[in-house]
C-alpha cells in the first residue's frame, strides 16, 4: 500500500508541477522570446539558475522563505494560517521553481525558431496578438511544446534533493519515489528499492522515446 501511495504522490507532484508550469511557462517564454526589455538577460539568468544550482541550494532558500521567521512565511501564517515547510504544497512550489527552465527553455527556443514574418503576417491580416499566439505561434512550436511538457514531467518525477530539503520524507504527503529508493536502500530493503527504481527508469525512458519520435516526425514540416 505504501508503495502505491508513494507512487501516487510522485505522479501527483509531477502532474501538478507540469500543469502549473505550462500555464506560467507559455507567457513567460513568449515574453522572453519577443520582449525588448533591457533587463531581459537578468530574467533569463534567473530562469536558468535551477539548471546549474545544486537542488540543496534552492531547497535551503525555500526552507528559509517558508520559515515563520521570514517575512513571507510570517505573512502566510498570519493571513492564511498556512505553513509550507514539510507539506505537499510546499514541495509543489519548490518543484515548480526547480523545473522552470525545463519548461521555459524549449518553449523559448521554439518561439525564437519561428520567423518573425509569421507573426507579422498574422498582424497584417488583422489578427490580434492573442489569435496569433493560439492559431499561428503555438501550433507551429508543437514539437517544442511536447518536449517541454515531457522534460518537465520527467524531471519532476526524478527530483530528489529539493523534495528532501523542503518536504522531508513523510509517507503519503511528501515521500516521493526517488526519496523512497534512498530510504529503502538505507534500510537494506533492496527489493522495494528495485521496484521504485524500475518504474522511474521505465517512465523516463518511455517519455524520452516519445519526445524523440515526435521530433523526428516533425522534422519534415519545419519552416522552409
Amino acid at each position: 500500500m505504501d508503495f502505491l501511495i508513494t507512487l501516487w504522490v510522485t505522479f501527483k507532484l509531477a502532474f501538478a508541477t507540469t500543469l502549473i508550469l505550462l500555464i506560467c511557462g507559455l507567457p513567460l517564454a513568449y515574453w522572453l522570446a519577443y520582449s525588448r526589455f533591457k533587463l531581459k538577460p537578468l530574467v533569463e539568468a534567473l530562469v536558468s539558475m535551477p539548471m546549474v544550482l545544486p537542488p540543496s541550494v534552492i531547497g535551503y532558500y525555500m526552507l528559509v522563505l517558508y520559515s515563520p521567521r521570514s517575512w513571507f512565511g510570517a505573512w502566510l501564517a498570519r493571513c492564511f494560517d498556512v505553513r509550507l515547510a514539510f507539506t505537499f504544497e510546499g514541495v509543489l512550489i519548490a518543484s515548480v521553481l526547480f523545473s522552470l527552465p525545463f519548461m521555459v527553455q524549449p518553449l523559448h527556443n521554439g518561439f525564437r525558431s519561428l520567423s518573425d514574418t509569421l507573426r507579422e503576417a498574422s498582424y497584417t491580416l488583422g489578427k490580434s496578438k492573442t489569435t496569433t499566439f493560439f492559431r499561428v505561434l503555438l501550433p507551429n512550436i508543437k514539437p517544442s511544446l511536447i518536449t517541454a511538457i515531457a522534460l518537465t514531467f520527467a524531471h519532476s518525477i526524478g527530483e530528489f534533493g529539493i523534495v528532501l530539503m523542503v518536504g522531508g520524507n513523510m509517507p503519503g504527503k511528501t515521500r516521493v519515489a526517488s526519496i523512497a529508493i534512498y530510504d529503502e536502500v538505507q534500510s537494506l530493503n533492496f527489493a522495494a528499492a528495485n521496484q521504485y527504481a524500475f518504474i522511474l527508469f521505465a517512465v523516463s525512458f518511455v517519455l524520452l522515446t516519445i519526445i524523440y519520435t515526435i521530433n523526428k516526425r516533425n522534422d519534415t514540416w519545419k519552416l522552409l
Partner: protein
C-alpha cells in the same frame, strides 16, 4: 481623387553603413505603383512602415481621410487596424495550415466561395489541402499573393512578389497581379528590381535611391529620356560586348528574355560595361543605344 500621403523619416542601420530614409510622396489611390531601386535603397522598409510593422522616427502617413501615422499627434495605427494586404519576401505562409486554410485565415468574414475563387484564380485548386512545406517556390508565392488579396484590402503591399519564379511563370503572374489589381481596385505598391516588370505592370514608378525619392511618375517619365523620340523602345541588359573590325556587337537580353544583337560604335561603348542597363531605340533604319538611367 483620394491620395496616400507619405512624409516620413527614419534612421536606418544598414549593412552598408547608416542611412536616413526620408520619403515624401503623394500617391493617387487606385494606382499600381512599383517601388524601384537598388538593394538597400529602403524599399522594404518603406513597405514595413506603411504596414505599421516598422515605426518611423517622425512624419505623417494618411490614406484618403484616415491618418495612419502622425508623430506630431502621437497617432500610430497598429497593423491590424490598417486595411492592408502584405506579401512578404519569404511568403510567411503558416506551416500549420493548408493552402486553403492559409487563405481562409486572412478573410475578415469566413467565405468559402471566395477561397475557392482565389484557389482557382491562382491555379492552386489541386494544392488546396497541402501544407506549405510541400509546395514549390512558385506555388508558395501564389498562395502568399492569394492570401494577401483575401482580405480585399485598401492597400496591397507586395515585397518582390515574383522574384523566385522562372521567366514564363513570372509573366503569367505579372498578368495575375495586373488582373487582381483591376478586380480588387486596391492601391498596390510592389517592390521590383526588374525593368520589364515595371513596364508591364506599373501605372507609376517610385524610384528610390539611398533612402530618398529620386523620381516619381509613369515608367516612361522615370526611365526614358524624353529628349529622344524613338519609334521602338526596348530596355534590356548588356550581356556581352564583342569588338569586330571597326564596330562593336552588343548582345542585349531584354526584359522579355529576348536576345538582341545590336551594332555600336566606339563612342557608344565608351562608358558601357557588361551588365549595364540600356535602352535600344529604333529610329528610321539605325538603332541607337544609350545607357539607361
Amino acid at each position: 481623387m483620394e491620395t496616400i500621403v507619405i512624409d516620413i523619416e527614419k534612421d536606418l542601420i544598414g549593412t552598408q553603413g547608416n542611412m536616413t530614409l526620408s520619403i515624401k510622396a503623394s500617391i493617387e489611390m487606385g494606382n499600381l505603383v512599383v517601388l524601384f531601386g537598388d538593394s538597400g535603397a529602403g524599399k522594404t522598409t518603406l513597405l514595413r512602415i506603411l504596414s505599421g510593422l516598422t515605426k518611423p522616427d517622425k512624419g505623417y502617413i494618411s490614406i484618403g481621410n484616415t491618418v495612419w501615422f502622425d508623430s506630431a499627434s502621437s497617432i500610430n495605427l497598429v497593423p491590424q487596424k490598417r486595411d492592408i494586404g502584405f506579401m512578404f519576401q519569404d511568403y510567411a505562409l503558416f506551416p500549420n495550415m493548408t493552402v486553403s486554410e492559409n487563405i481562409a485565415f486572412a478573410q475578415k468574414q469566413p467565405d468559402k466561395k471566395q477561397v475557392l475563387e482565389l484557389l482557382e484564380r491562382f491555379g492552386l485548386d489541386q494544392f488546396a489541402s497541402r501544407k506549405p512545406a510541400y509546395l514549390s517556390g512558385g506555388q508558395k508565392q501564389r498562395v502568399a499573393l492569394a492570401r494577401a488579396l483575401a482580405r480585399k484590402p485598401q492597400l496591397l503591399l507586395l515585397d518582390e512578389p515574383l522574384s523566385a519564379l522562372d521567366a514564363s511563370m513570372r509573366i503569367t503572374l505579372q498578368d495575375e497581379i495586373s488582373k487582381a489589381h483591376a478586380y480588387n481596385g486596391a492601391t498596390t505598391l510592389l517592390v521590383s528590381h526588374d525593368l520589364s516588370e515595371v513596364f508591364r505592370l506599373a501605372h507609376k514608378v517610385l524610384k528610390l535611391s539611398d533612402g530618398k525619392v529620386q523620381a516619381y511618375g509613369s515608367p516612361d517619365e522615370v526611365f526614358i529620356d524624353n529628349r529622344i523620340s524613338g519609334k521602338v523602345q526596348i530596355t534590356g541588359n548588356v550581356v556581352k560586348i564583342d569588338k569586330q573590325d571597326t564596330f562593336y556587337l552588343l548582345t542585349i537580353v531584354t526584359g522579355m528574355n529576348q536576345v538582341l544583337k545590336v551594332t555600336a560604335f566606339q563612342n557608344d561603348v565608351d562608358d558601357l560595361h557588361e551588365g549595364d542597363r540600356v535602352i535600344v531605340y529604333s529610329k528610321a533604319f539605325n538603332p541607337i543605344v544609350i545607357k539607361g538611367r
